[in-house]
Amino acid sequence: MEEQKHIGISLPRKDGEDKVRGKLRYLGDRQSPQMLHAAIKTSPHAHALIIKVDTTAALEAPGVRAVLTGEDIPGNIGIYLGDKPPLARRKVRHYGEPVAAVVADSEAEAKAALTLINVEYKPLPVVRSPSESLVENAPLLHEDMGTYSHIPAIFPEPGSNVANRTRIRKGDVESGFKASETVIEELFSFPPGDHVAMETRASTAEILDDGQVIIHSTTQAPFVVRSLLGASFNLPTGKITVITAPLGGGFGGKAGIQLEGLVYLLSKAVDGRLVRLVNSRENDLISSPGRTGLEAKIRLGCSKDGKLQAAEINYCFDSGAYADYAVNISRAAAIACTGPYAVPNVWCDSTCVYTNHPFATAYRGFGHIELTFAIERAVDLLAEKAGIDPLEFRMINVIRKGDTTPTQSLMDDNTGNLRKCLDNVSAMLEWDRGSRQKMADGKVRAKGVSCFWKAPAMPTNADGGAILTFNEDGTVNLHCGAIEIGQGLKTALAQVLAEKLGIHPDLIHVIDEVNTRSAPHDWATAASRSLFMIGRALIEAADDAIRQIKQTASIVLRCPPEDLQVSEGRVFLADEPETGLPVADVALGYMFPEGNAVQGQVIGVGRYISRRLTAIDPESGTGRPALEWTMGAQGVEVELDPSDGTYRVLKAVCSMDVGKVINPFLAHGQVVGGMSMGLGFAGWESFTLNRQGRVMNDSLRNYKILRYGEEPAYQVEFVETPQRDGPYGARGLGEQGVLGMPGALAGALARAIGRPLNQLPLTPQKIWEAGKEAAK
């Protein structure tokens, strides 16, 4: 097998210099003189009737062109379930919900006018958690649920606060529990939180006189925005253009429809003029969506030899005031509900539930970081009760080729080697030297491990495409619909193409901006599937370009095209390499000396659509929704001071089976970034809410994320069991780094303090309180 020249190389990322030097212009940086500016007024209440909105003073303020309230906007927007008015209508359902919007000549004038809008509220009882939401006679957040439009795969329950319920019924759990020597049943939970991407969300809208709508947006999914705008406002999608420049972080938070609908309506209110709305940090944290909270109940049983027999799982996702992506998050969690273990009997109900919290959208891991925390805690508790080492317990139960998932789809040849990953984690943590140790100074060192898996949660027809064009100098333009959100995708794709064409990645120009009018269609830059799907499309496009290059060259060189090879910028006879032409001479057609020109420009086209995916059965969950699973293991070592609960994370390790590492440096960075985010999720980051449902930490003064200096030493080892249908054997890895961290951290700290820790975030106070319980 030939040595790969451009795959498996740590090519410096193409966008690195501009970003580090502050040269990259983000959407929020772009302003033009004719632009109008918008600002939003938000609710101070978590649940209240809107009695009156008085906009008269605001309308008269300097520079103000329009003021809109919920009453001006009939209808709802929603990704899967049409439940959200762009501006609150009749009532507000979360702290920070937009209730009015101002358009003015300048951002300052728009913001100043907000204080002139008077809103009268009548507070309503606040629903503060999923369990409160499900109690009989709980206040209904969406009384009109029965009238909402929704996609067929979602099952809202009108008359309740349940926006979706997904069922998994595999095997027979009761007989599974009967066959179990050891059973545990436990509750796990955590509150909602946020993505805290460095770049806040922004959007502009303009409506031309011929009806064309032009949207610029910090979206991870410009084609989703296009189709949802079309559906929500009855516009032909052919008349909508969505343009996206590189983003300053997405993490799923920019994956759906965000500000675009509102900004479109604001532009409409000012006769189609260009209107710009950029979130302040506070708006971005609270008014725009964050991530779900969770309440889980898990009953798990194993036989005497530690083999899992049955799992009875209830996941209750706290979606906040609106469902957005969360109805699919709860569904995705059902599909993967057991974690990467072979469990023959599974009963799962996974619900998406409304509360009066700021609402949630997609977040890195998409239901899997949530379920993995709960399952990994449950597995630890079961292993402990069964008297089996927690790492050994996982080793016994890892899912392998031939086993079935909760949806009863068969794990095939492409299944990652989870046992190898666990072995690597064990070695990196030095697990065999003990998982708990009391130090001389009274502190306790302890280790925790976890396993994780994730497949992309996407529609069965999710797709991608790639178009290649050439320049006079023989360099290539790579055009695809994926967004650079900081994950280094464009660099990795350039490497894949470089390998196919046999040229250096520096000779490949990846088009940064995605314009839905000209870019090939792409489902969304989410779910860790872009490298896989666009990589496949790219390989097809490269093959197409090569065929065209050979076709033209065969005319000039007077030989069969199949005798030719393309590499190093030349097209030449494979067995007579000195006979050939520069690719540059044929890429835009070939011109003979006397002037005749033949064939024309090379345009390489490729596409990829998900293979053989199915919906899942509404009663049993049976089906094949997963394109490919990326799985792995993680672990942490902590040092805890039991007297006050304070701790340091000394080490965080991860081993993941990614099929093929395209760019080791970038892959390592993605995983470590995910691990850092997962640790933050587990120990530091969440909304704190008061009894009235108001978010107390609605700014970065008080919403804490991990800083340099607080990070542990990270170690990552990749395993490469090829994904046969992936580009060069690669499978997705963008999200997976976050998944196992909460479970591993909670496991390590629980081991250290000697008490279960089943709630996040893992603050020193919480651990200290658990320690006091132990002392009693």
Partner: protein, 279 residues
């Protein structure tokens, strides 16, 4: 952004500053004195305050002094916390200053702002209280110098329009043996759950605390107890707890139980440290 216009003045002397303040206040313009501005900028952005004018004090030379002048250390109110954390005359206040916020914020945060602002922690007051500092204020009637202990009760008692100019400490207070511990919810860059300092003065152990109650304090009654050699460490802690000058805070940073447990643990450790220092 701050979405409204305001007037900005940059006086070069205290007298000028006070005159401008009086004029603006009388004209109903709601002026605010402005130093680092971290609180002002935050509240103006949120439009929870809307001052008509800001009077920038940073150009006034006497508020920027940091010098050891014979037997006195002069700390100007507009010294930044970064500056304070780097000076070597008074290591204890350097330690305290260094623990507030993060470096970027400390480049703007000032000693005077930390003491006089709206946030209730005012941590830099702690080493000033234990050092029996003097405070120099200036207002309509000119400058006055008073003992800090007489003018500080939960906050600094300033007359309207009065400016905090300097803090003055006696040289003999600068090198005392000291102990510091700052507790946070989770991670160093945060408001304090409890920030305590202990200072071994000539024959007396002084202690001051911020974050535990709703205001920072130094308490004579508590010091009487911890300096009572007839009591055991445990008794000192128990009696001190009863003498706390206010209710223990309970909020989203931490519960009152947790704060109390941390404070008591730290008090024991501080007493042990100071006892060891004596030997």
């Amino acid at each position: 952004m701050i979405p409204f216009d305001l007037e900005y003045y940059a006086p070069e002397s205290i007298k000028e500053a006070v005159v401008i303040y009086t004029e603006l206040a009388d004209a109903g313009k709601e002026p605010l004195y402005y130093a680092g501005g971290t609180e002002i900028v935050t509240f103006c952005r949120q439009q929870t305050i809307k001052p008509g004018a800001l009077i920038d004090l940073k150009g006034i030379a006497e508020t920027g002094l940091l010098e050891l002048d014979g037997e006195k250390l002069i700390l100007g109110a507009n010294i930044t916390l970064s500056c304070l954390s780097e000076q070597g005359h008074f290591p204890l206040i350097a330690d305290v200053a260094r623990s507030v916020a993060d470096r970027t914020a400390r480049n703007r945060l000032t000693l005077g702002g930390n003491i006089c602002g709206r946030l209730p922690y005012r941590e830099t007051i702690l080493p000033l209280l234990t050092a029996d500092a003097e405070v120099v204020l200036a207002g309509r009637d000119g400058h006055r110098t008073e003992p800090l202990s007489e003018l500080f009760d939960k906050r600094l008692k300033l007359e309207k329009g009065e400016i905090l100019v300097q803090l003055i400490l006696a040289r003999k207070e600068l090198g005392n043996k000291s102990w510091v511990r700052r507790r946070e919810k989770h991670g160093p860059v945060d408001y304090p759950l409890c920030h305590m300092i202990g200072v071994k003065k000539k024959d007396h152990l002084a202690v001051a605390v911020s974050g535990l109650c709703a205001f920072p304090f130094r308490s004579d009654e508590i010091e009487k107890v911890i300096n009572d050699s007839a009591l055991s460490a445990q008794e000192k802690v128990e009696k001190s707890t009863v003498l706390l000058p206010g209710a223990i805070r309970s909020d989203e940073l931490g519960s009152d139980d947790y704060r109390l447990a941390l404070w008591q643990k730290d008090l024991v450790e501080m007493l042990e440290y100071m006892e060891g220092a004596e030997r």
